[in-house]
Amino acid sequence: MERKYLLGNEAIAHACLEAGVDFVCGYPGTPSSEVIDTLRAQPERPYYLEWSVNEKVALENALAAAWCGVRAICTMKHVGLNVAADPLMTSAYTGVTGGLVIMSADDPFAHSSQNEQDTRCYAHFARVPCLDPASVQEAHDMIPEAFALSEEFGLPVIFRPTTRICHSKGDVELGAVPKSTRNGEFKKDPRQYVVIPAHTRVLHKKLNEKQPAIRKRLVEKGFNRCEVKGKTAVIASGIGATYVQELLPEGVSFMKIGAYPIDEEWLGDFVRKHEKVLVIEELAPEVEEAVRQVAGTVTVFGKKTGSAPWEGELSPQGVAAIMEKAGVLKKSPFAVPAPGTDLPVRPPILCAGCLHRGAFYAIKKVFRDAIYPSDIGCYTLGLQLGAVDTTICMGASITVGSGIAHSGETHDVVCTIGDSTFLHTGIQGLMNAVYNGANMTVVILDNRITAMTGHQPNPNTGLTACGVETLAISLDAVCRACGATFVETVDPYDVTGMVNVLQEAKKRKGVKVIIAKQMCVITARRMGIKRGRYEVDAETCTGCGTCVRFGCPAIEFADEKALINDLCMGCAVCAQLCPVGAISKEGKK
C-alpha cells in the first residue's frame, strides 16, 4: 500500500477515509484542528462535514448521525470535551448504532492550552472505551478499529491522541479507501433515545454490563500487549511507550497500554510475575492506579512514589531520568547540557498589522485603570500589552466581567472576546449580563474567522467548512437580540474612531458592546490585499519610543531612532500614534 510522510492529524484524517466515515464535525482547537482541515480539503467528499459552533453542538450532531446508523467522527481538543461533557455522559447510556468516534486531543505541557487535563479520565467517568495511540502509524491504524469497536459494543469510542501524536510526523503506511457510502435512517426507539428516569435506569445497567467484554476485546485487539523478560517491568502508555522502548535494557519486561478500560485479570497476571514495576504515562495516573489495584506485594514505582512527574510532557531525557531513578536503567544515556543563557525570549506575538493590537491600544488609552477580562484566541497574546487580566476558558470573558462588575469592584470592566469565541459560548454570557444589569464594556474582536487554530470559517465568515457561501451572521443583530442597546461597530485600524466609541461607552451605564471589525491580517495577505508599507522619517523622529511601545514586530529601534522593517502590513496605526508625524506611507512623505 501507499506510504506517505504525514502529520499525525493528516494520517488520522486519511484513516477516517479508509474507515468510510459518513459524518464529520467538530470545533477547532490545537492540536486537533488539522483532522477536519484535511478532510474538508479533499477533492471528493462522500461525507457530510461541518465546523460546528462549539463542541457540545458538534457532539450532539455526531451522536444523532450515529443513531441513524452512519459512521461519525467528532473532533475537539481536550478542553472542548468539557463543553461536550453533557451529551458525552448520557451518550454512553443511549449508545449508538453507527460507529461514533470522539477525538479529544490532549495537550501535555499545555503547548497551546489553558490546562493539562487528561481525556482518559473522561472515558473512565463515562465508561466508554478509549484508545490512546503511541505513534502516528498507530493513531492511523486505531481509527478503523475505533469505528468497529463502537459498532460492536454500541458505544461511543473516545480517541485520545496527544500533541506529540497530532503534530508529529512519520512515514505512514496507508490503507485503501472504500467507495461505498451509507445513508442514515432514524429508527424510533424511545426506550433507547428518550432518557426519562424509567428508561435511563435500565440503560445505565446495560452500560455497566458491557464492561467486562470491552476489557477482554481490547487485549484481543492487541492495543494492550506485553512481553515478560525478567523480574522488573516497565508499563507505559501513549508517546511515553516509544521513549521507553528506545531505552529498555535487556531482561526488563515491557507492557504497552493503548486502550482503556484495562483488563484487571490480564494486568494482574503480568504484574505479579515481577518484583518491581515502573509505570510511565503522561498526565493522570490512570494506568498506575489500575496497576496498584492488582499489584499485591509487588513494588510499584510511578507518580505516587515521586518517581515520575504528575504534570508536563514526557521526553526521551525525562523518561531516561525516571527509569534511572527507579533503578530500571543504570545510567541515563543522555547528558543534559545547559541551554544558552540570558538570550532575549522570542514568545509568540500578535502579527504585524494585527487588528487586536490597535483595539487593545485604544482600550488601554480610554480605560486606563480598568479590569480587562479576556478570552481564548490570538488576542490572549494581549497579555504582553498589559490588556489581558483574566483568561480561563472559552466564553469566560463576558461572564467573568459581569461577575467582577457585580462583586462591588469599582473599577471599570472592559472585556475582549473574539468572534468565534463569542459564537462558541459568549452569547449566553452577554444575554445574562444584559438581563442582570451588569455595568461593563464588551469589545468583540471581530476578524471574521477562527484565526488562532488555522483560519477555520465560522458563522461570521460567510463560508461553510467546505467553502460554500452562506449567510454571514450579524453580530450586531445577535447582540441587540441579547438585549444590548449600545452596539457600535468600528474599525480598530482607525485609532480616533475606536477611542471615540470607547469614550462614548465609558459614559454610559449597563452593557455596552463594541464590535472592532477588521479582517485578520493573515487572511488579508492570503487574499492578496496590499495596503502598502510605512516608513519612519529619521529626521523627524525624536526617538520618543511611542511606536516601539506599541509592540508591533515591524517596528525596530536603533541608534535612537525608530525604523519599520519589511514585516509592515500597512495598518497605519503607528502613523496615527506618532506624536511628531514621523511615520507615513512609503513614498508619500
Partner: protein, 194 residues
C-alpha cells in the same frame, strides 16, 4: 543510539521550517527510509521561536534529546544559539546569518547579543554560516531561504542530494520549482565552501 540521524531545524514561525521538514520526509520516502518528526503548530507559531525535530531512520519517538542532534539547521542566528545545546559533541550547525531581533528586546529594553558573539559561541561545534538571504535573492526569491539552508546542510544529511532535490521539486509550489532547484544547488555550493 538506535542508528537514527537526528536533525533539529529551528527558526521563527513563518520562516518555512515545516516545508523544510516535509522535504526531508519526502526524500526519505524516495529512499525508502523510515522517518519521525515533531513540530510546532498553532498559536505558538505566531512569530515565536519554533523547532522541528527530524529523525532519519527513526523507529521510536519523534523527539531528539538535548545533546543528541547530529545536525542543527537554524534559519536565524539567535535561534541557533538558543538551541545549540541540542547538538552532540562533534555535531554540526548550519546557520543562516540572518538575525531577527525579537520584539522583546525593544519592549523590555534587553540587549541582543551581537552577531560576532553568537558566531563565536557556536564555534565549539562544526559551524557553517550561510548568507541565506543573499543566496535566495540571487536564486530568484528571498522566500527560498529555507531551501538554500537545506542545500547548504545537504553536505551533512545522509540522503542523496538527488533525492533531496527531487523532494524539493515535488513539494514547492509549481511556479517556483526552478527558483527553488537553483536555491538548493546554490545553497549546496555555499555549504561546501565553508
Amino acid at each position: 543510539m538506535t542508528g537514527s540521524y537526528d536533525i533539529l531545524i529551528v527558526g521563527i514561525g513563518g520562516q518555512g521550517t515545516i516545508l523544510a521538514s516535509n522535504i526531508l520526509g519526502e526524500a526519505c520516502l524516495i529512499e525508502g527510509r523510515h522517518i519521525k518528526g515533531a513540530e510546532t503548530h498553532g498559536m505558538a507559531q505566531r512569530g515565536g521561536s519554533v523547532e522541528s525535530h527530524i529523525r532519519i531512520n527513526g523507529l521510536y519517538g519523534p523527539l531528539i534529546a538535548p545533546g543528541q542532534a547530529d545536525l542543527l539547521i537554524s534559519f536565524d542566528l539567535l535561534e541557533a544559539l538558543r538551541y545549540s545545546h541540542y547538538l552532540k559533541s562533534g555535531g554540526t550547525a548550519v546557520v543562516s546569518k540572518n538575525l531577527v531581533i525579537p520584539t522583546s528586546v525593544y519592549t523590555q529594553k534587553l540587549t541582543p547579543p551581537a552577531e560576532e558573539e553568537i558566531a563565536a559561541a557556536l564555534k565549539m561545534h562544526g559551524l557553517c554560516l550561510v548568507e541565506a538571504d543573499r543566496i535566495a535573492t540571487e536564486a530568484g526569491s528571498p522566500l527560498s531561504q529555507n531551501v538554500v539552508m537545506l542545500g547548504a546542510a545537504s553536505r551533512w544529511i545522509p540522503l542523496k542530494p538527488e533525492s533531496l532535490l527531487e523532494a524539493v521539486k515535488r513539494l514547492v509550489p509549481k511556479k517556483t520549482i526552478e527558483i527553488n532547484a537553483k536555491a538548493f544547488q546554490m545553497g549546496r555550493d555555499a555549504g561546501g565552501k565553508s
